[in-house]
């Protein structure tokens, strides 16, 4: 999945990779792609994870893991870092999700459980800030229920912000026109339509 996402990132793009699974996308970016990674704690030009003597407690990513800097890297404070997102300067951000709606609503910060401690971090800022928001998730929850839904039932992170959903069985484009299948992996359009309980448009062109 990470490899497929990496393939869809335009050369030279400024990209934010969310915590967890999206960080794996970095492993599949071509070194000559010119893609620059942003980390919201205040850096452009983030390199690979730091190991051994490279580990510096003053140089971490948004997941607070030690990372390295690449030539051309820059540092900035939090207000500048989020102005960069909110101001529409980031090309792509990649996040995980609990649910995505057919029109691109994103729910990835709270399951709404009454005893949960709410925590949002930078997800709401990223959701509305990047020019394109890609989501990586399994298409079905452990109980078999779809996570791509007509309308989100979990509390929203952002409205109409997701453009692509990459899953283990298919890639979808979502937006005002609804859900379009971009690519499937070992599953038929009929089966997807049945299991998702919503109309899907298949398109081999994009």
């Amino acid at each position: 999945m990470a490899e497929i996402v990496a393939r869809d990132i335009p050369d030279g793009a400024y990209v934010n990779l969310g915590i967890g699974q999206p960080t794996m996308v970095a492993d599949y970016l071509r070194p000559d792609s010119g893609v620059v990674l942003h980390t919201e704690n205040g850096m452009l030009g983030m390199g690979r994870p730091a190991t051994g003597d490279e580990i510096d407690p003053d140089l971490t990513n948004a997941g607070k893991q030690p990372v390295t800097e690449l030539p051309g890297a820059s540092y900035f404070h939090h207000a500048d870092s989020f102005a960069m997102m909110r101001g529409g300067h980031l090309d792509v951000c990649i996040m995980g999700a609990f649910q995505v709606s057919a029109t691109g609503d994103l729910a990835n910060w709270s399951t709404g459980a009454p005893d949960a401690i709410p925590a949002v971090g930078g997800a709401m800022d990223l959701a509305i800030g990047a020019k394109q928001v890609f989501v990586m998730m399994s298409l079905f929850a452990k109980d078999g229920s779809p996570k791509l839904v007509p309308e989100c039932t979990y509390p929203l992170t952002g409205r109409a912000c997701v453009s692509r959903v990459y899953t283990d069985v298919a890639t979808f484009a979502v937006g005002a026109d609804g859900v379009r299948i971009v690519e499937t992996f070992g599953i038929s359009v009929d089966e997807l339509t049945t299991r998702l309980c919503m109309p899907l448009v298949s398109s081999p062109f994009t």
């Binding site: 980390t39 919201e40 704690n41 205040g42 850096m43 510096d56 407690p57 003053d58 140089l59 971490t60 607070k64 800097e69 540092y75 900035f76 404070h77 939090h78 207000a79 870092s81 989020f82 102005a83 997102m85 909110r86 609503d105 709270s110 005893d115 949960a116 401690i117 709410p118 925590a119 949002v120 971090g121 930078g122 997800a123 709401m124 800022d125 509305i128 800030g129 509390p155 929203l156 992170t157 952002g158 409205r159």
Partner: protein, 218 residues
């Protein structure tokens, strides 16, 4: 006035019961650990703490929380694998929590420091965190009105200061420091070293001394 150089205990004596204290750092990067330890020893209580997280493990902010000095935490991400001190207090109803999206948290402090009365942000529109807030459509896009967060005191960590209080930071440890320095009535910076005036290149100073009141070398 140029910054006063003093010991941590003397510096944090500026904190009074009931104060709002801005605490820098993102995880341990930029966390002013020695100033927090001094604040615990100082004893001020009933505090509102504004920071990105709500303490990790049993040290730093978590120790301040465990000592029962904090009435309310304003942060973006309190729930972490090792945030058991906050978790316990929250579930016991012994601490208030205001969750603020990370970018709004930074911008609300920036607004306080820049003399902005309030601002319209697109972050959080349509989510539970915008409920009850004024909103407005500008050029076809919906925004939510957000108000400044002002601190009585800011505790931040920078890398090097000169004796006036000009600051430079190190890598991603910069994070909230420059914004918090502008947003508090009294800003206390802990630094690794203090150099003579003129030794820092004016082109690389990130926080000008006008924002810094007290310096602690640790």
């Amino acid at each position: 006035m140029t910054a006063l150089i003093m010991e941590a205990a003397e510096a944090v004596a500026a904190v009074k019961d009931g104060d709002t204290v801005l605490v820098g750092g993102f995880g341990m990067a930029g966390m002013p650990v020695e100033l927090i330890d001094a604040l615990i020893a100082h004893g001020a209580g009933d505090l509102t703490i504004v920071s990105n997280n709500a303490g990790n493990s049993d040290t730093g902010l978590a120790a301040l929380l465990a000592a029962g000095r904090v009435r309310k935490v304003v942060c973006s991400f309190p729930r972490q694998a090792d945030s058991w001190v906050f978790d316990g207090l929250y579930r016991a109803g012994k601490i208030e929590l205001e969750v603020v999206p990370q970018g709004n948290l930074a911008e609300r402090m920036r607004a306080a420091g820049a003399g902005i009365g309030a601002f319209y942000s697109p972050t959080g529109v349509g989510t539970p965190l915008a409920e009850g807030k004024e909103s407005r459509v500008i050029d076809g896009r919906e925004y939510v009105l957000e108000f400044p967060i002002r601190g009585d005191v800011a505790l931040i960590r920078a890398h090097v200061a000169d004796r006036m209080g000009n600051l430079v930071y190190r890598k991603t440890a910069r994070n909230f420091g420059p914004v918090m320095a502008t947003a508090a009535a009294v800003t206390i910076a802990q630094v690794s070293s203090i150099v003579d005036v003129g030794e820092l290149d004016p082109e690389v100073i990130v926080t000008p001394a006008i924002y810094v009141n007290r310096l602690v070398s640790v």
